[in-house]
Subunit: 232 residues, 2 copies
Amino acid sequence: MRTEKRQQVKALRLFSEMSDAAFDRLLAGSFLQRFPAHVVLIREGDSADFLHVVIDGGVELFSNWKDRETTMSIARPVSTFILAAAIKDAPYLMSARTLESSNILMIPSENIRSAMVSDSAFGVSMVTELAVCFREIVKAHKNLKLRSGVERLSNYLIELDSAQNLSGQITLPIEKKLLASYLGMTPENLSRAFATLKDYGVIVDGATVTLSKISDLRTLAKPTPLIDGRES
Amino acid sequence: MRTEKRQQVKALRLFSEMSDAAFDRLLAGSFLQRFPAHVVLIREGDSADFLHVVIDGGVELFSNWKDRETTMSIARPVSTFILAAAIKDAPYLMSARTLESSNILMIPSENIRSAMVSDSAFGVSMVTELAVCFREIVKAHKNLKLRSGVERLSNYLIELDSAQNLSGQITLPIEKKLLASYLGMTPENLSRAFATLKDYGVIVDGATVTLSKISDLRTLAKPTPLIDGRES
DNA sequence: CTGCTCGCTTGACATTAATCAAGCGTCGGG
DNA sequence: CCCGACGCTTGATTAATGTCAAGCGAGCAG
């Protein structure tokens, strides 16, 4: 693996406390692979042989039941996904597919488990990382259970504005169809939700969204760090 | 703390690998307290000073937003709750209240964190426990996002039947109002969902529910271990 | 250039779930 | 014993969301 990419991975909270030697042992048997867009990397129900790391590109985590499908989360560089399944050596609960052409690092689950027992600092990093993941999905669950579609969209836009310099001018990082699935609604309903928010100063032009009356929008959205922030 | 209760706590997956000495250190500064029914133990947003363990009784974890409230999960003896907040020393994301008169053990979060760095086996136990918690809430999220109210109820009943000896005769462990909130619907809607399931052999008499046509019910419910099982 | 696919939007309609209101039965306190 | 609170149920109504259908426009292959 190229040095630059190795450094990016090593810089992750999960690995930063490890010695270089331990990190090298962890990477033994790993491989970095480039996948085209829209390739399924993981199918839910399969056994979790690898921990995956998005080096660049993007990955959608999704689930199916009966004839329905929903987006559970979106993994962006540089971050890991399906950590819990890798630890438990249990079946994946979510499927994963690339959104765009992506570089994915795959680390054998077995390496993760053995590193955990031999290196207690790594164990602590794992605990911390998992606690963060847990808190994120608790937030997602609260979001879905306590808010309507329009409210979820409003808060999503406000959070995006925070992530993009609070300029009131944001660019949707994913296509609307995917956003709808992520927010737990149909594409038709997302369109209508945007239309509803016109009264709150939300102007949509393709992937560009302008929030011209942010205070009005915030009054409607009522964001709170107990649901909306990102966990650090 | 009484020996018997100490053993119950020690037997939890989270603590079973520790030495007795380390476990005693962990319990230093902890206290066991009896609370009456319907007492709020934790308010979301407060800082997480203690890891809580339900020794007996029962605890509801719930969240509020605006004027809405929802049940996130129900903790039964003997299990811990709000582990992730305790680890991260971050604000609780959920509130907690007793369902009945309950004994609660409270262990200072600081003890958990220090035990984690000094005892790597404990670290591994923590990772495992958190991975289980994470997978449970992923399932809850899929359940809510992929299924309708009637489908969620059907699967709940089937799972309860599995937990209660597959006799086809089950007793609801919680009152219907709480069940409704847990399943993400109003009490009125839960009543109607039960009425809908009459056609599938579901007969309700107070807290007693008879599943007289389980195969029909399963056809409707389509349970899957990727959503419904309990994580071990 | 043409024709196709696909993302997106809008309208009409169906389904699902929430709200409002009323009524029943149990339980516990006065 | 009676009363009132509360859990639960049912009906009527409204609100939210999903489904079906049509159409527009960008982008791409032939």
